[in-house]
Structures are given as C-alpha cells and as structure tokens.
C-alpha cells in the first residue's frame, strides 16, 4: 500500500528518489545488532535489553536480533560491522575503547571514518578515588600530597596500560604537573579489592560508596556523576576547568555509508526505547546518569575523544606519531 504522499510524489515524478522511498519502508525485515562482547557480559545484558525495547518502536513492527561477536577487545565485532552492507540492517553496540582507542594502534582494519555513529545511550562515570578511610579528604589535599611526594601515589586502572581510564588520568597528571604511578588492573572489582586490601593508594574507576564499598571519589574525571547523594559534593574536572575529561560511552554504530534516513529511524527508536521504565530502572540501579546523544552529537563526541586519546597515546610512547 502506498501512502497518499507517496502517490502524490509518484504522480509528480519524484518517486525516482530511491533513498526517500526506501526510508519510508525501512525496516522491511529484522535488523541484526552486533554486540561486541560475550553473551552474558554486562554490555551484552544492556545491549539485549535495548534491542528488545527498541523493537517496539521500529516501523513495521520489525525485530532486532542480537548477535554476539566478542573478542579482540571489541574490535572483532566492529570489523564485522564495517564489512556489512551499509543498508541499515546491520548495526552494532559497543563501548568507547574499540572505537576511540584500538584503531590508533593500527591493528584494526577500520578507523572511525568507517563508522556512522547512531546514538550514545550510556556514559559510565569514573573518578579518581582513594580508600574510604584515607587521610586524603578531598581533591585539594590530594594535590598537596602528590606535589609534596612525587611518584608515591599509586593508582589502579580497570583496563590496564593504554586503556581509557589510564589515558585520562595521565592527562590529569600532565595538566597538574604531578607525578603519580599507574598500576594496571583488569576489571573494576579487582582494582577495588586491591584498594580495600591496602595494596594501592588510589584507583581510577566508578566509585562504590553507594554500595557500601571502600572506593571514595575525590575528583570525577567524567563530566557526569552518579546521582547518589554521597557524590553530590565531589567536583568534576569539567567544573574545575582541568583539561582531563573522559567520556566512557556505550553506543550504537552503523557502517559508514548507511543512508542518513535509516540512521534517523534507528536513532528515533533508540531514543524512545531509552525512556522505557525497564531501562530507566536499570540505569538507576547501576547509578549511571541518564544521557542520550543523537547521531550528530555522538559523532562529535567520538571524533573528539578519538583525537584526545591519540595525542595521549603518542605522548605516552605507546604509538608512534
């Protein structure tokens, strides 16, 4: 069935504009969503939840089918995405690292130019933390301490050397002209345990005071904070004007070349899905603030984060300029 508008357009001889005609019917079959992490992982749970809810907001009642392509630090799934037909029927859910860090190492066959951002749906807050019982009470005291004692403050990151948490903390140290020592960890539970066990003086991760943990923030290095009242008085680098602001996002991408009308359809379905109770509750439980950025804004975030990361990787000597 053609809509009256289409009939009108056809009559006017404008039906030859294929993109417009396609956009009107997209999607005509189920859409494949590549999740770049293992089935059952945190990202997979979130990706599947969003996929289920966005199906209800897609035209023609089409379903979103999740396919897990884990491995390569998330890059295997993104490689598969860039090799897919850019017709809107394949898109991917991933996090910031496979997009804004991994391609700089030259190990991936894709760069951000090969991706069309659709929407950012989550941003994970992260802070520079100390132990709950640490004598360092706030950012000023910390700064005093690290200035007086160069190379004595040890901090854990949750992704190891060259991970996003490492890069932004080095940006902080560089901006404040202090020397602190990085200790690589894997996963935020491990770094939190090392802090509790007294192995380290600090961590760079999502704090866990709201869950009764020992990880107490002194400075958020993301522009957002968890909504919990415990964190209300903790400053962010954005507020203090320190040029060390990270964006640990999770979001959706299509292959570059996907028609913008189809990206708009997916973006609209995502935006609607992110307002559903299931998701809002999920984010509240995780203490993630609600953020949503559409295709255009997300594209700018991706490009900016990627540029900053590249510069820091070069300064750390991890990649050649």
């Amino acid at each position: 069935m053609k809509t009256p508008l289409q009939k009108l357009l056809a009559a006017a001889g404008l039906a030859a504009l294929p993109a417009l005609a396609m956009a009107d019917n997209f999607p005509e079959r189920p859409i494949e969503l590549i999740v770049t992490y293992e089935a059952g992982s945190g990202a997979d749970v979130m990706g599947r939840l969003i996929a289920r809810l966005m199906s209800g907001h897609l035209p023609n009642g089409q379903q979103v089918v999740v396919v897990n392509r884990p491995g390569g630090g998330g890059t295997i799934g993104m490689t598969a995405l860039t090799r897919a037909e850019p017709d809107g029927y394949t898109f991917a859910y991933t996090t910031s690292s496979p997009v804004t860090i991994q391609p700089h190492y030259g190990r991936t066959t894709f760069s951000i130019e090969d991706l069309a951002p659709i929407a950012k749906v989550i941003e994970v807050p992260a802070a520079l933390n100390v132990h709950r019982d640490s004598p360092i009470e706030n950012f000023e005291q910390w700064l005093e301490f690290v200035r007086a004692n160069p190379r004595s403050f040890t901090y854990a990151t949750t992704g190891g050397t060259g991970s996003g948490t490492h890069l932004v903390t080095e940006e902080l140290a560089e901006a404040l002209e202090v020397e602190i020592r990085h200790v690589p960890f894997e996963g935020d539970a491990n770094s939190a345990a090392a802090l509790s066990g007294g192995q380290l003086m600090g961590t760079m991760q999502m704090p866990n005071m709201h869950r009764g943990g020992d990880v107490r923030p002194i400075l958020f290095m993301t522009s957002i904070k968890p909504p919990h009242p415990d964190y209300a008085d903790i400053p962010t680098t954005t507020e203090l004007g320190i040029p060390a602001v990270a964006d640990f996002f999770a979001g959706f991408f299509a292959p570059a070349g996907t028609p913008p009308e189809r990206i708009a359809v997916l973006e609209a379905a995502l935006e609607a899905a992110m307002q559903e109770d299931d998701i809002v509750n999920f984010l509240n439980n995780a203490q993630f603030p609600i953020v949503f950025a559409g295709a255009e804004e997300f594209g700018e975030i991706v490009a900016e984060t990627s540029t900053l990361n590249r510069a820091m990787l070069v300064r750390l000597g991890l990649i050649a300029d």
């Binding site: 392509r69 630090g73 295997i76 190379r151 190891g160 539970a189 090392a194």
Partner: protein, 498 residues
C-alpha cells in the same frame, strides 16, 4: 544460615534438572573406559552457555562428582578403570567382584563416593567464607607465590617424569601469555590475528586437549570391539553394618582427598593412591588388601570424590584451580562473567550459597541415580567406539563453534588436539599444560604488578610472613619430587641389575 532461605520453585526445578543431566552424563562418561571425567565436563561446557550461572556450574560439578564415582563401575565390572582416578579401585574392587559379587563392590564404591562427596561439601561450606576473607588481604606478591606453588605441585605429584612435566608447564605458560598484556598495553604472541587478542579461547583449548585427542586415540584402537560385561549380581546390596565397618577407611580417604584437592593443581589421580596406601597402613587386616578388602575400595573412592570439594575450595576463594577438571570448569565461570576468587564470596554470596546447596544435592542425588541406574550403566559399557567417536567429535565441533561463532577456534582446536596427541604419545603432561595455561595470567600479572607497586623492589616477594609459608611449601614439594625421582631411578637401576 540463609542457605535455605533462597528456595524458589522454578529455580529449584531447573536446578534439579541441570544436576540430573550432569549426573547422567558424568556417570556415562565416567563409566566408559577411555571417555572419562575431563571429556564429560568438556562436552557439557558448551551446553552451559545458555543456562543460568548457578545451573551451569551445578551441572558441571554434578558431572565431575558422578564421573569420579563412575570410573569405579568399569573398574569393578570390567577390570578396566573408566577414569585414571579409578585405577586404585581395581586392586580390591576386581577381586571382590569375582569372589563375592560385583554388586557388593559397587555398593562399597558408591557409598564411599557419596561419603567423600559430602565431606568435600562440608569443607567447602565451612571454610570458603573465612578463606575468602583471608584471601582479600593477600596482595599480588602472595598471589604470585600461590600460582607458582600450584605449578610446583603439579610437577612434583602429577607426572611420572618431572622433567617432561616441567616442559609441558613451560609450553602451557607460553600459551597462557598469548593476547593483550595489560601491563604494557600491547598484545603478545598473537601473530596479528585479532581472534588471539584476548588470548586463546579456553573452550577450544580444552575441547582440543581432552575430547578431540581422546577421539583420535579411540580411532587408533579397535573401533568395533565391545566389552563383555557380567549380567548377574549387579544390584547394590550393602548392609548398614558393612558401611559402618569401613567407616574408618572412608574418613581417612575423605581427609586425604580434601587435602590433596586443596593443593593447587593436584587432583584425584594422586589422592586415590595416597588414600589406598594410607588405608592399608591403618587397617587391622592389611593382608586382605589386594584380595578384595572393602577398605581398599572405600578409601580411594571416598578420596576421589572428596577431592572435588577440596579442589573447588582454592578455586572459589583464591581463583586458583585445584585440579585440571576445575580448570575446565573455570571456562563456565568466564562465560558467565563470574570471576572466581576472593571477590566471589563478597559480590555474589547468593551464587556461592546456591552452589554449596546444589553441591550437597548433587552428592545425594548421585547416590539415588547411581543406585537405580547402576545395572543400566553397566550394560551401556558394551557401546563400541564406532558409535562413541563420531558422537564425541560432533559434540566437540558444535561446542567450540557455538561459543562465539569463530571458525578460527575450530582450527585452533584442531591444532591443539594434534599437540595433545603428541603430548600423550610421548608422556608429556596435559594436566600440567592446561593448569599452566590457566595459571599463567595470574602468575605473570601478579609478579609484574607486585614489582610495579613496589617500584621494582624484589624483596616484596619475601617480606610478608605468608610468603615465607608459601615458599616453604614449595621447598617441601621440590624435595619430595626429587626424592621420588631418585627412589624411582634407583628402583629401575636395581631392576636392571637383577
């Protein structure tokens, strides 16, 4: 105890089904000579992807428990141990089956297995919380030493030839280092292959090492030969008095089983024999051993099953697998995003409680399932390899591929299975290899991280009292292994001279 507060009908139903499936598969694979424990767990692993974490782990543990017992079924009825661990059962199980009745021997074996399993479960429930709390105070330097202790233990106990075990371990360590190095942020030994960036797929590795290589071995033998099994007196008949009389052997065996299980890297191949000789030394009638002594069946069987709980303890509390089978089960933990170690008790207490509860149910369930289906399992032993081999290969390929739909993993498993074949033909240690693969990241990362934290000061490894204990433990194991080798070489020399 909030163990019982978490019962929910749906959870209970699916949990019991998973346990039942694990028990049946474990009994079948354990009883079939050649298939054995590790293959049972390996082939069930892929099935666990889509299950809830608790059900997945319980199914695998059920298979572990059941296969530990079922190895005795074929040892007693056929005279061929279904698993390596059941070899000590042969000593007295076979004579008793011939002189008395197979059912009697099977009865002793089953009751001892259940007893040992329950002792293992009790140890887990009693000690996992305190041990986890203690482990949280351990730093990287201690974890490095713990991992190293595991490798030393495998070298000294598990292999016939410590030198070959050492070579296997070094190869395993190399394989375990493949992938991203979090300290430098660079991938290593990945040959630019993106599928290797996160390390080798543990599923492909264990399926290749255990299941595929075993299938090749079976193909090399007589594919059509079936076993002859006795058809009479298979029913389990054991009186209360008979159980009570062998109680001492059951307790000795369980104690040894738990202790050996806790020792990282050493499994029931060792505990069974240790229990057997200990029971003989403690027995009032040592002359009956080898001629059908009940204690000679009870002690090793109790030890085998107590090893399961024992091996689980360091895994759940420290993240260090106590046996090769647990190293395979660690694959299921990874798949479900659960990190074995001290954090498990703190972050997932309900998961741990469910596992403990399920573990007890598994052990008791094993008693009833085995008791009812014993005769059936004995009859199944006639299945010729020509049926089993395609079945094993098909399940292996399906299992590897469904994990993450990578053809690369299939090629990897093929390569690994060839390596395993060479290992087994030349008497290298597959167990040492797989444990080294699993322990390599723990050992390496904690070693290097301890040095980063200490700013390059090597004394960090000997500063704390617990380090001294661990180093002393390693020294004892090394001395033991040396003495054992020297004694064996001397015995061989004497034999030659004679």
């Amino acid at each position: 105890m909030d163990l019982l507060a978490q019962i929910d009908l749906w959870v209970l139903g699916t949990g019991l089904l998973s346990i039942a499936l694990g028990l049946l598969v474990g009994l079948f694979f354990g009883a079939m000579p050649g298939l054995g424990l590790t293959i049972a767990i390996t082939l069930l692993l892929p099935l666990s992807y889509s299950m809830s974490p608790v059900n997945a782990i319980l199914m695998l543990l059920a298979a572990y428990q059941a296969a530990e017992y079922a190895g005795s079924i074929s040892a007693i009825t056929l005279g061929i141990p279904g698993t390596v661990m059941a070899a000590p059962i042969l000593q007295d199980g076979r004579p008793m089956a011939r002189n008395n009745s197979p059912g009697k021997a099977l009865g002793y074996s089953l009751y001892a297995s259940v007893f040992g399993g329950l002792v293992g479960a009790a140890m887990l429930i009693l000690f996992s919380q305190p041990l986890s709390r203690f482990a949280l105070t351990l730093g990287d330097s201690e974890f490095f030493l713990l991992g190293l202790l595991g490798l030393v233990a495998v070298t000294s106990f598990e292999a016939a030839d410590p030198l070959k075990a050492l070579i296997s371990i070094v190869l395993g360590l190399l394989v375990g280092l493949v992938g991203l190095d979090i300290i430098s942020g660079m991938p290593r030994l990945d040959f630019g292959i993106p599928q290797l960036f996160d390390g080798l797929s543990l599923i492909a590795l264990v399926v290749g090492l255990f299941a595929l290589s075993e299938a090749y071995f079976m193909m090399a033998g007589n594919m059509c030969a079936g076993h002859r099994v006795p058809s009479e007196n298979l029913r389990i008949t054991l009186t209360w008095r008979e159980m009570r009389d062998s109680g001492k052997a059951a307790i000795t065996g369980s104690g040894i089983g738990v202790a050996v299980g806790i020792l990282p890297g050493v499994g029931s191949t060792v505990s069974g024999w240790l229990a057997y000789s200990a029971a003989r030394k403690l027995s009032k009638t040592p002359e009956l051993f080898g001629k059908g002594s009940p204690d000679g069946i009870v002690a090793p069987d109790a030890a085998n099953n107590a090893t399961v709980g024992g091996a689980l303890l360091p895994f759940l509390t420290l993240g260090i697998p106590g046996s090769a089978a647990i190293a395979i089960i660690s694959g299921a933990f990874i798949i479900h995003g659960l990190q074995p170690g001290p954090l498990l008790a703190r972050n997932n207490p309900e998961f741990l409680n469910a596992i403990f509860l399920g573990f007890v149910v598994t052990t008791i369930g094993m008693f009833f399932v085995a008791r009812t289906l014993n005769t059936g399992f004995v009859r199944l032993l006639v299945t010729p390899n020509v049926v089993l081999v395609p079945f094993v290969i098909m399940l292996s390929i399906l299992g590897i591929f469904t994990f993450r739909a990578e053809f690369f993993d299939l090629w990897l498993a093929l390569g690994i299975s060839m390596l395993a074949l060479a290992f087994r033909k030349l008497d290298y240690s597959i167990v040492g290899f797989v444990l080294a693969v699993v322990l390599a990241p723990i050992i390496e990362t904690s070693f290097r991280r301890a040095l980063v934290i200490a700013d390059g000061d090597y004394t960090v490894f000997i500063q704390r009292p617990i380090s001294a204990v661990l180093i002393a433990g390693m020294a004892v194991l090394v001395v033991y292994a040396t003495l054992r080798t020297v004694r064996r070489d001397r015995a061989m020399l004497n034999k030659k001279e004679a």
